[in-house]
């Protein structure tokens, strides 16, 4: 079986400071991997390198493209990489306003990726937008409202709909539940679990919330000071952590 994403010794430095160093892993179709670590541990830098938002200083990020199999996205041309970014990849930002067009209606936000791949039939675009708003539990009478009129949880769900409408195979998520009420978080987590299963999505989720990864991620990578210190099955890493830092992390979670 070919991995969907093959990451090999990815390093990124900010001057002499380490962003992330020597990170390698394979991600297979349908797998959800969580990346946890404290602020400044390099998890967001790593995610940016994987999603093509940052150019790593060394290493390879190979993606199993539909046409040519595994291709290094670091060295592929920018048009190809951006094409991946609006077809096979999706990126869900922590702050919905970074991932949405706030002055465009919900329907336009969802339709943009379709139009970007040359959908030119208004009725079909709109039908798809309505379908996707339904899937993320936004009622279709909100289709012409702008996201500024939405609650934080709705904005985040809209962002997910906008990203998934073109049927991507790999979703990058940066703290997707950060800044949301716990009740809203639960609904979002359940939604994401369902979508991951139905669409056989692979996902890489960066978060510092161990409860989120336990519910969402199959696998877990623990980062500290830019290095990957531990990786394995999510419940195994959380229940039987091997590295000193992971043990500290797990034992530091407050019990409710």
């Amino acid at each position: 079986m070919t991995p969907l994403l093959q990451v090999e010794k990815v390093s990124k430095y900010y001057g002499r400071r380490i962003g992330c160093a020597d990170v390698s892993f394979d991600l297979y179709p349908g797998e959800v991997m969580g990346i946890v670590g404290e602020s400044g541990s390099g998890k967001s830098t790593l995610l940016s390198c994987l999603a093509g938002h940052l150019v790593p200083d060394s290493g390879a990020v190979r993606f199993d493209t539909r046409a040519d199999g595994l291709r290094d996205t670091v060295t592929m041309s920018e048009p190809e990489r951006r094409m991946l970014g609006r077809t096979d990849w999706a990126f869900v930002h922590q702050h919905a306003r970074d991932g949405l067009r706030m002055n465009v209606s919900a329907g336009g936000n969802v339709g943009e990726r379709l139009m970007a791949v040359n959908a030119r039939h208004y009725g079909e675009i709109r039908d798809k937008a309505i379908d996707w708003l339904g899937r993320v539990e936004i009622s279709d009478d909100r289709i012409d409202d702008r996201p500024t009129a939405f609650s934080g949880g709705m904005q985040q769900r809209l962002q997910i709909a906008r990203n998934l409408v073109t049927g991507p195979r790999l979703v990058f998520m940066d703290e997707p539940t950060g800044g949301l009420d716990v009740s809203v978080q639960a609904r979002l987590l359940d939604l994401m679990r369902g979508l991951v299963r139905e669409m056989n999505l692979s996902a890489i989720i960066v978060t510092h919330d161990l409860a989120v990864v336990r519910l969402l991620a199959d696998r877990l990578m623990v980062m500290k000071d830019g290095h990957m210190v531990e990786t394995g099955l999510t419940d195994q890493v959380l229940d039987d952590p091997q590295h000193a830092y992971t043990q500290l992390l797990v034992s530091s979670v407050l019990q409710v």
């Binding site: 951006r82 609006r86 465009v104 039939h121 208004y122 675009i125």
Partner: protein, 289 residues
């Protein structure tokens, strides 16, 4: 006349602008940056168009300047006078007689011929601007032909108004490559963008020049189920009776009386001279007495 260099701008500047124009003609629809100069008029009054006109003008040219189709509005009159003084070129109001026509917001009704140059005044050259504020990003989108966003704007139109409500500055795709803002001409004029004459666009404040060479394909963007349709007031000109020209609506009294008339004053006048009379018009001879 000797107080100014021909057509106001110095020769180095004109050369720089001509280079931008040539590049624009070579890459139809592509926005070429240029070092826009301060002109003796405020931004928004056609400083971009004036610099382009100044750079293409030859002493033997005949210049016509229109604003919203009319030769007799303030903007048109000032610019025409400006070039009379600084270049000493002949001026005209007749579309067929002009070799260079500077325009704001209209294309003349009379089809332009090979050898003529139409210069547009452009306020905002970037068609993607209102949806994507970053210039770095829009340039990247142009270079990679990522034009999905342009259709988002049209989508928003339909979702809000039930039809593509964009009535002017309607985006076009030039020669199958660059998406371009045709300046705020009514979309009625969009089909005329495919013409025999050279079309040059100048944005002074934004420092961009772009061009459409003769016989270039210019397609107005649309959806399969909402095709592009040029629109005008459903009326004939009340002065000359023309049914095929773009009309201005005029309130003529306090009782709500209205009349429609050609926005292209030269076109209207030429027709009236030829004996055409509209519903509220009078024969041309009588009117001029």
């Amino acid at each position: 006349m000797s107080a100014y260099n021909f057509a106001y701008l110095d020769e180095q500047t004109k050369r720089m602008i001509r280079r931008a124009i040539l590049k624009g003609l070579a890459i139809p629809g592509y926005q070429v940056p240029f070092a826009s100069r301060e002109m003796p008029m405020p931004y928004g009054w056609g400083t971009g168009g004036v610099q382009v006109t100044a750079s293409v003008l030859m002493p033997e040219d005949t210049l016509k300047v229109i604003d919203q189709g009319a030769d007799d509005t303030t903007n048109a009159v000032s610019i025409r006078r400006f070039f009379e003084r600084t270049a000493g070129v002949a001026v005209t109001e007749a579309t067929v007689e002009a070799s260079v026509i500077q325009t704001r917001h209209r294309i003349p009704e009379e089809p332009l011929q090979a050898g003529q140059i139409l210069v547009y005044q452009v306020p905002i050259p970037e068609p993607l601007r209102f949806l994507e504020p970053s210039e770095v990003e829009t340039r990247k989108m142009h270079s990679l032909e990522e034009y999905g966003l342009m259709h988002v704007k049209l989508y928003e139109d339909i979702s809000q108004h039930g039809a593509i409500a964009t009535a002017y500055a309607y985006p076009v795709k030039v020669e199958g490559r660059y998406v371009m803002d045709p300046s705020p001409i009514p979309k009625f004029d969009n089909p005329k963008l495919e013409m025999e004459a050279i079309q040059l666009f100048g944005a002074g404040r934004e420092q961009r020049i772009y061009a459409i060479p003769p016989f270039t394909q210019v397609v107005s963007l649309d959806f399969d189920d909402y095709p592009f349709a040029p629109t005008k007031a459903d009326h004939a000109c009340d002065l000359c009776g023309a049914e095929d020209s773009y009309l201005d609506e005029l309130i003529v009294d306090d009782a709500g009386g209205r009349m429609f008339m050609c926005s292209d004053t030269d076109y209207c006048l030429t027709r009236r001279k030829a004996g055409h009379i509209g519903a509220q018009g009078v024969p041309y001879e009588e009117a001029s007495v």
